[in-house]
Amino acid sequence: MYVYDQVDRNLVAERVAQYRDQVRRFLAGDLTEDEFRPLRLQNGLYIQKYAPMLRVAIPYGLLSAVQLRMLAAIARRYDRGYGHFSTRQNIQYNWPRLEDSPDILADLASVEMHAIQTSGNCVRNITSDEFAGVAPDEIVDPRPLCEVLRQWSTFHPEFSFLPRKFKIAINGSVEDRSATAFHDIGLYLCRAPDGELGLRVLVGGGMGRTPIVGTVIREFLPWQHMMTYVECILRVYNRYGRRDNIYKARIKILVKALGAEEFARQVEEEWALAKDGPGTLTEEELKRVSAYFTAPDYEPRPADEGEFERRIAESRGFARWAGRAMRPHRVPGYRAVVLSLKKTGVAPGDATAEQMEQVADWSERYGFGEIRVSHEQNLILPDVRAGDLFTLWEQARKAGLATPNLGLLTDIIACPGGDFCSLANAKSIPIAEAIQRRFDDLDYLHDIGELNLNISGCMNSCGHHHAGHIGILGVDKDGEEWYQVSIGGADGSAAGHGRSAIGRVIGPSFKAEDMADVVSRLVEIYLENRETGEHFVDTVERLGIAPFKAGVYGTPVRTKKEPSEGVVADA
């Protein structure tokens, strides 16, 4: 993985010093709350319901064992012994003190990490495929260009006060594992017929209040132009994006208002003047950065596959886990392994300091000291020998990290919600738990098959509810927490056969205590109607939402328990 050189080290160290001084000035009263806000936000510090929240970047989801141990140490030293992995390949600490935040950033800097631009109206953490470099369906490893773009976007002087936040994802595989089409800029790495490396450029995707799947504005952009082209997109957005209304300030609104074609024309016009400038990426620099992402020294052991097969035959539990947690690896004899952070009773995406340390240990024992973080809020060991899988499973099980639910209904994506977040309208965590408890029968869960269930506590959509096969959105009605349900969303991954789609709302919202029943009904309708090989989302696609709507609203949801409290319609 990438290793900081003197340039990177200086920048991060100087950033810590700058921020330390800003905190000092704020505490001394030289900076007002309004003046300090953008400064702390660009260093990842929010003020939340009960305490500040610090969001730390995990660039393109890549961590070393040393870094993960530091994340654990920070959780212990400055927080309450755990952290929350978010849908944007960040980790969030819920209980740090403002006064400690400069020290936390200094600790992060000591392991080549930071919280730069994890919030605020600037270019955020660049996200990517958690299986980059090991996936058999990879066209081009996206990590070098992610790193190049990370550096380019860090403290960009022209784009640090954009109309709104700005998210970029790069995907380099056949399968889109980065929800790329839901980003302000989505870049798909590809090759021209002559083998030239390039990018397909999407703009204006996003979730939030106005969910939109991004539009292609350029089919093929040769790799060396990535930064100048992104610069031109950002310049058009910075100048013409709306600033009068926070809900209409994202680039997607500008793209929609102008039309994608006109937006593309303006970008191309700008780019005609910026193209081939000094910002053009050089072959030398791409080679240099790529040299940090070469394959480790794999040494497959011939006996491994036999050992693995024997264990599968012997242990149903292991077979079930491996069937879900294992992902193919481009090197025979190896697998990528997803460690589930979706155990029932634990907030989705949360990991304790002990768990982080154990994962760091396993990454060294069973791999090359590397860990990945996925937008589905799980941790990945990318290089596990087939012969080590059984031992890893036994250990992961003890650590509560081997729930065999990856890609299944209980592998719920959820934001921290109303339990922590001051933006939330409603809680997410208890809803996730109620649903996980309802679907605790593993045979049933596995029979239901691939199903992405995503929960957001408010319209900001941190829980990606729009892209969920089942999406749940917390809404506020007269001070009460209600939940709106949508179906048919898809994040571009194989679970939805590559489609990127926004879910459709099935009808009036529900109370928290009804949510497990509502999901049960949706699943029953799917099971009654599915054709061979269909996932939940395929059946929704084929039948439309009508039968699901009829099945859910046909009779009051809670007739069995409290007949008086049926479904209450939205006003």
């Binding site: 050189d5 003197q6 976007s153 109309p163 050089t282």
Partner: protein
Amino acid sequence: MPEIIRASAVVADDWQILRPAAETPLAEVEIPVGRVVVPLALWLERSAELLSRGDTGVWLSGTDDPAPLVRWLPQLPLVAVDFPKFTDGRGYSVAYLLRSRFGYRGELRAIGDVLPDQLFFMRRVGFDSFAVRSDKDIQQALRSLQPFSDVYQGSWDNPVPAFRRHPRAWPGQHDGN
């Protein structure tokens, strides 16, 4: 006399920023004596008169298109870009375009809600003078002009990104390891 930052020093400055009331017709706006910076619309309306006056500069808002000003840029002693709120970042692009696209080489000043922690970004996109908001410590602002010893990406101050400026470490070339 108010103080500003120019060429990395705090100096006294007598340019007045003219912000006429929106309802006053441009033809009727009174131009005070002395060195005055007028809004773009006023300049475009009365450029002949203002040009003969000599000591006149022009300020642009973030929504102004700098293109119509281009023909006068070589004669202007001062161009300013207004930041109505420090969080409104349009002025950064306007400044960058004035410098890099339209070739303005005179003094380029940031006016309005100009706070110490913005100066680093402002200087990089092409501003060389800063009317720091009067309630802020201008010496503090001067100290925060240059918080970083290097930068990754090019901008007006140095269009060449770090990877083209000096050799960066390849794997195994790191000091200490």
